[in-house]
Symmetry: C4
Subunit: 338 residues, 4 copies
C-alpha cells in the first residue's frame, strides 16, 4: 500500500476531489431524502461477527461458482451507467481491471432486442441480468438542481467486443438490461425466456412475494437490490431484507446482493445471511474516477484482501464454512444491548 487509500471509503473522497461536482453528485447521490442510500451502508454496521478460534486458516479459499461457472471470489462488478463521466476510458478501463482481478463485470444496455440477445450469445455472454426496479427514473434532487443530463453511451457496442477479447471464455459474462418502460411486467420475462437460451437473473427484488414469483417464472437467479438507493427512497437497506428473500427462494436459485458493500466484513455478512455473491457498484466507479483502470483494480483487490483476512480471523478457511451462526443481528444478542 502506497500513500494511497487504505479502504474503499477513501476512494470516494478521491473521486469527489477529481470530478466536477455535477458528475460526482450524479454518481454518489440517491433518491429524495437519500434514506436508503445511507441505510444501505449503515445497516451492515449493525450486524456483528461471531468468529471461531483455533481453526487452521493457513490456507483461505475464496472461490465459488455461479450458474455453473467458477469465480475466484464472490465479488462481482455491478452494472453502473455512464462510467465515462468518471473517467475517459469508462467501461473499457473497468472491464480491463475486472478481467485482471478475475472478476465478473455486468454491463449495462438499454436497447434489449432479439437481435442483440442473439449477438450476446454469440459473443460469449453467459447470462442476462434484467433490472426490474426502474419502471421510471427515481428523483435525484441534486441532479435536478445541477440540471444534470445523462450522456448517451454511444460506444457501448464497441466495448462489448473489447471485453469479449479481454476476458476469454472462462468467466460468466453477465449483461444487464435496465429498461425504463413502465409497462414492463412478468409477461415480458416470459417473452425474454422464449427468445434466448441465456439464463435470466432479475435484479431489484426486495420482497419475499416477488422472490417467489421470480422462481415461479423460471428465472435462474435473483439480485437483492434497491438500485443503490437511487430509485424509490425508503426501501429497506438490502442487507436487512436479504434473509427474507433467501428464505422465500429456499435454495431454488442463487441470490446475490447489491448495495452498501464497502468492506470485506460486509461481503462476509452477506454470505452468512445467504447470498451466493455480492455486487459492488459505486466503489468501482470511485476507483475509476480516482485512478482509472488501476484504481478499479485497487478497489477490487482491496475488497478481496479484506474478505480473505475476515475469513481467516473468523475461522472460516472456505466460503462453505461461513454459516448463519457466524453473524449476529442486534435482536439476536443473548443480552441485547440496544
Amino acid at each position: 500500500m502506497e500513500d494511497g487509500p487504505v479502504n474503499l471509503r477513501e476512494f470516494q473522497e478521491l473521486a469527489k476531489r477529481n470530478l466536477p461536482k455535477m458528475y460526482y453528485d450524479y454518481i454518489s447521490g440517491g433518491a429524495e431524502d437519500q434514506f436508503t442510500l445511507r441505510e444501505n451502508v449503515e445497516a451492515f454496521q449493525r450486524i456483528m461477527l461471531r468468529p471461531r478460534i483455533l481453526v487452521d486458516v493457513s490456507k483461505i479459499d475464496m472461490s465459488t461458482t455461479l450458474l455453473g461457472y467458477n469465480m475466484s471470489s464472490p465479488i462481482l462488478v455491478a452494472p453502473t451507467g455512464s462510467q465515462q463521466l468518471a473517467h475517459p476510458q469508462g467501461e473499457l478501463a473497468t472491464a480491463r481491471a475486472a478481467a485482471a482481478c478475475n472478476t465478473i463485470m455486468v454491463f449495462k444496455r438499454r436497447d434489449v432486442s432479439a437481435t442483440l440477445l442473439q449477438r450476446a450469445e454469440r459473443n460469449g455472454y453467459k447470462a442476462i441480468v434484467v433490472t426490474v426496479d426502474t419502471p421510471r427514473l427515481g428523483r435525484r434532487e441534486a441532479d435536478e438542481k445541477n440540471k444534470m443530463i445523462i450522456p448517451r453511451n454511444s460506444n457501448l457496442e464497441g466495448l462489448m467486443s473489447v471485453d469479449a477479447d479481454l476476458t476469454g471464455g472462462s468467466k460468466l459474462e453477465a449483461y444487464a438490461s435496465e429498461t425504463l418502460d413502465p409497462s414492463l411486467s412478468w409477461k415480458d420475462i416470459e417473452w425474454l425466456k422464449s427468445i434466448t437460451k441465456l439464463p435470466i437473473i432479475l435484479k431489484g427484488i426486495i420482497t419475499a412475494e416477488d422472490a417467489r414469483k421470480a422462481v415461479d417464472a423460471g428465472v435462474s437467479g435473483i439480485v437483492v437490490s434497491n438500485h443503490g438507493g437511487r430509485q424509490l427512497d425508503y426501501t429497506p437497506p438490502t442487507i436487512s431484507v436479504l434473509e427474507e428473500v433467501v428464505k422465500a427462494v429456499s435454495g431454488a436459485v442463487p441470490v446475490l446482493l447489491d448495495g452498501g458493500v464497502r468492506r470485506g466484513t460486509d461481503v462476509f455478512k452477506a454470505l452468512a445471511l445467504g447470498a451466493k455473491a455480492v455486487m459492488i457498484g459505486r466503489p468501482v466507479v470511485y476507483g475509476l474516477a480516482a485512478n482509472g483502470e488501476h484504481g478499479v483494480r485497487s478497489v477490487i483487490k482491496m475488497l478481496q484482501n479484506e474478505l480473505e483476512l475476515t475469513m481467516a480471523l473468523a475461522g472460516c478457511p472456505t466460503l462453505r464454512d461461513i454459516t448463519r451462526n457466524h453473524v449476529m443481528i442486534n435482536h439476536e444478542r443473548p443480552r441485547s444491548l440496544l
Copy 2:
C-alpha cells in the same frame, strides 16, 4: 423545475427567508419542547416501503372519494389560521391554488352558530370539521418571547363567498371549527348534529378510545391529528397512532391523517396504514409565504407528483393497490436491524 425548490422542505427555507421572525416562528413552531413537532415528521422516516416489481405502471390513477365526493388525489389542504401573516392575499390565494389543483381546502372559523351553519349549507359547504384538541391554547414559547399576538381574521366572511365562486359545486367543501371553549364535550357534538345536516368530521383524535366514541356519536369521519404539535407536547406522532385509530374504527367511517406529511412517500405510507387521505398544513403556508398562490400551487403539485412516482415505483397503479403489506415498520422487519 426552475431554479426553485425541489421539495417541500425547501419551501420552508424560503418562507423563513421571506417572513419576519415573529411570523415565521408562529407558523413553524410547536408546543414547549417541540417533541411532537419534530416527531410528526421523523416518524415517517422510520417506515419503509416494500415495492413490487414488474407491474404495469404506465397509467397511475390517484383519484379517490371522500364522503361520496370525487377527489383527484388523496391530498387535502388542512385548516390553518392567520394565513395573512404569510402573504397579504392569505386564504384567498390558497383557495385559488387549491381550486387550480383540484384539491379540497378546509377553512377555519371560530364563531360556529346555527346561523353560520345554515349559511354554510346554502353556500355549498359539504362538511363540518370540528377541531377537538384545542380546549385551551397550547404554549408556544417562541411566541411568548416574541410577544406574538394573533391578528383577527376580519375578512374571513368575504373569503367564504369568494371561495364558493372559485370552486363551484364539484368538490367537497369542508369547514373547520376550532373552538377554544374548554367546556366543549361530547354533548356539543350531539347539539351540532341536531342543527345541521352537514356531515361532521372530528379532527384531533389520536386514541382508539376516542375513535370508538366518535363512531358511536355518529360522526362521518375522523382526522388523526395532534394539531401539528402545537397543542399538547409529547403526544405521539400521528403516523404512529394511525393504525390504532383505523383498527378501532374498523371501516365505519373514513380516517384522515394530518401532521408531518412532507413527501409523496409519506402520503403513500399513510394510505398503506389505513388513511383515506392526508391533510397538509404548514407546507401550504410555506408555499404561500414563498410565492403566494403560485407557491401553494407548486407545493400541492409537487406532492401529487411525488405520490404518483411513488405509486409507479412501488408497483401500485391505483390507490386500491396500496396495502398494509407495502410498508414495513421497524419492528416488523424479519431481521430487525435496530
Copy 3:
C-alpha cells in the same frame, strides 16, 4: 410573563450566568460520567401522552393529599443542600417561596438525634424523610477539579423556626435526614421508629426488592430517587423504575418521585405511572440563583401552570382522572416506531 425565562430549563441558564463556576458545577453536576444525571431528564422524553378529547375541562383541580394532609398540587420542594451557595438568603428564601405557592418544602439536616426529632415534632414538622442512598459521598469529578468544599450549614437551626413561622400548621412539614454513616442499615429504621411518632418516608429506593422491605419495615412512604444522579452513576432514570416500585408496593404506602422533572408534562407522566407526587430539586435552586425568593416562586408557579394546562389538554379535570392509559411508553405503541 416578562422578558424572563419561559420554562424551567432557562432558569438553569440564568443560574449558570449568575453563579461562580465552582458553585454552579457543584449544584448542576452528577457522578462520574453523569449518565444518570442526563437520563433522569431524557427518560421522560421517551414517554408519550394519550390525551382524551371533548371532556369538560373548564375547571382543573390539582389538589391532592399526602399522609392525610391536603396539598394544592402534587409538587414538593426536594431537600437540597447548601442553598446559600446559590443565594445569600438560601433556604430562607426558598421556604418563603414554597409557602407562598402552598408547596411543601423538605428541609435537609445531617445531625439526627432523639432530641432533634422531639423538637421537630414540637415545631410542627409532620414527617421524617430519610435519605438512604448516601452511605458515602458520590464522586463529582468537576468538584474534585474545582477543589470544591461544601460549607457548613451553620444557620440551619435558625431557619427551622423561621420556616415554622412562615408556613403555619396547615401543611405537611417534611424533614430530610441525609446521613453519611456507611453502617446505616434497616435496623436504624427500627430505632428511628421507636423514638418518634412522626411518619417515616424513605428517599432513595429504586428497586422492587427494597420497596417491599421498606413496606415490611413499616415506613409511611417511599421516594423513588437516585439523588439526582449525584451518587451512583448508571442507576436507571427514576421515571423508568417508578412503575416497578409502585407495583411492588401495591398501594400500601404512597410513592413519590424525584429526579429529572422539568415540565408539567413530566409531572403528569409520573402521576400516570403511579406517583402520588413529585419533588423538584435543582430547578428550585436554579430559581434561587436566578432571582432569589421571587425566582423560586416563578419556578414553582410555572410548573404548576404547566401541569394545569397539561391536564386540560389531556382531558383530565382532576388528578384522579389521570390513568396509566394516559401515557404510552415506547414499547407499548401498537406499531412501535423505534
Copy 4:
C-alpha cells in the same frame, strides 16, 4: 488527588499529548472502522445498576481468588505489546506498579517453546495465557498510513527475572503467548497441555460454541476478549457476550473479561454478569505514557477505588454480594424506555 487526571479517560488525553502521533495511533487504534473499539467501551454504558439500600457498607472487601491464588482485587493487567513505545522503562515500570498495587500482570511473549515453559515454571510463573484471536494480524489503517513498524521486544527476557524479583511468590504470575501462526488449532492446545503442568487460560473466546470446546479441551480459564477491537472489526463488545460465555461454561472454569473497562462501575457490571475478574490493557499503557510507573499505579489505584465506592453505594460489602440482579440491561427494564 492533585491537579492530575480524575478518571481513566483523562489518562488517555495525557498519553495523546505525550506521545508521537504514530505511537499513540498504534496504541489507541482499532481494526478498520473501529466499530468494536468504540463499542467495547460504549456497551458498558447501556447497562444499569440496581443498588440496594440500608446495607452496612462500613467495610468493603474486594479480595478474590483465581486458580487458587489470592488477589486483592478482581483487576488484572492485560498483556499489551511494545510498552516501550509508551515509556522508556516499558514493561519494567508496569511490573513495578502492578506489584505495588498487588495486581497480577500478564506478560506477553511470542516465542513459546518447551524450554521457555520449563523456565517459566521454574521462575514461579503460575499460568499460561494463550491468545487465540490472532491467527493473523488485524488491519489498523492508521498504522498503515503512518507506516508503523512494531519494534522487537528484545529485552523481554530480562524483564521476566526482574519481575520475578519484584513480585515474590505470593501472586499468580500469568504469561501470555500471542502467536501469529495461522495454522494454530485445538490440537496445539493438547500439545501445550502435554509439555507443561501450568494451567492454561485461553484469551480471545467470544462465543458459547468455543467456550464449550475450551472446557472440553481441559483449559483452566477463559478470557472473553476481542483483542481490544484490534483484530476482527464488528465482533460484539465483550461485555455483551460475557453472559453467553458464562452460561456455556456453567461454572466449570473461571471466566475473565477484557475490553472497554474504564470505570469501577464497569468492573462491577462485568462481575455481576459472571466474570471472575477483568483485565485492563490500554488504560495501563496510557498511565505509563502519562507518567511512567507512577502513572500506572494511579490508573490501577483509581480503578480499585472506584470499584470500592461502587460496591459501597450498591450495597455490596463483598464481591460475593454482587449478583446478576444488581444490573439491568436495557431490554430487561420492566418498562423498557428505549
